[in-house]
Symmetry: C2
Subunit: 357 residues, 2 copies
């Protein structure tokens, strides 16, 4: 058993995987191809379901099953839905009207609308049909009755914490493992009890705090993109590392050429912003973040800040500009060269082993 060479195999045993490496679920930016490649290499692949319909979840799960018999992690958002706030959205559209004038396009009409509902009845039915090995939730956990139904399928439940308080909250509710998402992490912060980005905690401090305070295995996330960083995460007390941005450079990711170009710059600067979607998420700083954020309470509530600028993003991207695009990225400066996700997974594991040994 390959996992025998890792010191703390609790998570490997729990999930039935060989390597302490999880490909972060990245809604819109990765799909079945990346999950299969990571899973077949011995890591844990993830299917980001937040932006998928129940039918797409079913077909994604079926496709994965046809290509791999390894475990798969189905990831969902379970954010509290904000009540409509037309006045707020109207004020925001007024504030950003000059961009629409500049690009010669019409702003969206009110009310703003977006897909991305939180984990609900139809998603739960899909999970009950698919019976996956692992289900993970971002932004807390779903309501108790739904969570109970997911648990009843026999899957392992993964939650994401950005503070010790959130970690303890998840542990109390019986999750099987906790992702400690440090402030370095790219994409949406899992924050659900915390509200102030200024107090978000770095990976070093967060992994130590949570892993020394809960009984369940902890997965380190944030700023981890190579084998040395994985070894460091294990030394800190994590049982595995979750890697996002590192996998975005892989051939199987579905990011745009603009996004890929932004990640290729080791001098790129990232910030946590809420002006692109309405919730705090870390990405490469672009014009809209710089001019309107990175954080502003006036931005429409999640996920409506996204449709508010969708026409700007589409027009700008058609002109080769990422001024309005979410270029999600963690803070790890030096990312892997472009390669296949399976090859990367094996390379990361070998590097981590060499350091940990």
């Amino acid at each position: 058993m390959v996992s025998g060479i890792w010191r703390d195999t609790r998570l490997l045993d729990l999930f039935g995987i060989e390597l302490p490496i999880i490909a972060a679920p990245m809604a819109n930016f990765a799909g079945v191809d990346l999950a299969v490649a990571v899973a077949e290499a011995g890591g844990l692949g993830s299917l980001p379901c937040a932006a998928l319909s129940p039918d797409q979840i079913r077909s994604g799960g079926a496709e994965f099953r046809s290509r791999s018999n390894k475990p798969l992690n189905f990831n969902f958002f379970c954010h509290a839905v904000s009540p409509p706030d037309l006045a707020k959205d109207r004020a925001w559209l007024k504030r950003i009207a000059p961009y629409f004038a500049e690009l010669g396009i019409e702003p969206p009409t009110l009310p703003l609308s977006a897909g991305h509902p939180p984990f609900g009845e139809a998603d739960c039915a899909a999970i009950e049909a698919l019976r996956p090995e692992i289900v993970s939730f971002h932004f807390g956990l779903p309501p108790k009755p739904l969570l109970a139904r997911v648990k009843a399928t026999g899957c392992k439940i993964l939650g994401c914490a950005t503070s010790l308080r959130e970690g303890l909250w998840l542990a109390e509710r019986g999750v099987d493992a906790i992702i400690a998402q440090g402030a370095e992490a790219g994409g949406h912060r899992g924050m659900f009890l915390e509200t102030d980005v200024a107090m978000q905690v770095g990976t070093f401090a967060l992994v130590r705090a949570i892993s020394s305070s809960v009984q369940v295995p902890v997965i380190a996330a944030g700023g981890i993109a190579d084998g040395r960083a994985i070894a460091a995460a294990l030394a800190l007390g994590a049982c595995a590392a979750q890697i996002g941005t590192g996998y975005l450079t892989c051939r199987e990711s579905t990011i745009s050429p603009l996004h890929r170009k932004a990640l290729a710059d080791p001098g790129r600067e990232t910030a946590i912003t809420n002006v692109l979607t309405g919730r705090p998420a870390r990405g490469v700083v672009n014009r809209f973040m710089r001019e309107q954020g990175p954080i502003d309470d006036a931005a429409p509530n999640f996920p409506l800040a996204r449709p508010a600028i969708a026409p700007l993003r589409a027009k700008a991207e058609s002109q080769g500009s990422a001024d309005f695009s979410p270029l999600w990225s963690g803070q790890a400066a030096i990312l892997p060269p472009a390669m296949g996700a399976g090859e990367l997974t094996r390379k990361l594991a070998e590097e981590a082993r060499a350091i940990s040994a």
Copy 2:
């Protein structure tokens, strides 16, 4: 040689120390006692000189020498001095006037004044007289002529970087080692090229970025308070770890009982603020940070934000309140129990060895 058991001994050899542990210099909060205890245990002790007069630096150095023959790190601030801005300071005093009314005390008179000049002629003369083994600088490096004189004493020079860019800048200027100060770190951010706190990088990402980009040894700082974290820092590519907040809990630190109490709470929340001194520094969130910051460009320039609230701080502290006090603290949640700094140093090294071995 005890250092033989550590993998990368470049820094140990450079400094002539046994353990890859540096006690962070903490101006106003630690002095010769802590430095002696850490040095005698095999780590590197630091004498924070930023708030000391040249005479105090000389006497501190002499006292250390009388008690230890180990190397010592003399630390200085070398910030660019902002030109006076009476209008800004007046506006700030007006804004915070209600606090003075509430506490029934008079605000300070303009112009505000503070000690803490940057490293200058008299400090340099003290260094030339003391000829210490190591001199470290915060907020960049002093002007070339002064730096050349320090170098000419034969000491090793340590610089502090908060970004890859700052790390490369220091390496180009010939420092002997670089502290990679992750965003988790307590106290003043070493930022000197960077200006935006929102883009400060976590320890995980920063240590990897700098250590893989420069030839000189890198010291990890930020969020490190136990042996596991030290082992993780070494796995990341650091040659040593610098620990600040962990040593504040020691008997030899000179923090106030209020500060000690704030650190004892593992649920304490910290933020990077500029409203207490004028430069970004991480501390436990208190009333003044919450109500006026944590970051506000309107705060007087460093170090004048400190005298602006000095009377408030003194009055509040006399009443047992830390509402206006700098409770510097990093993000490491779980700090060592109160013990001697020598004992802590040995304990940290043993823990780190057990994990690294």
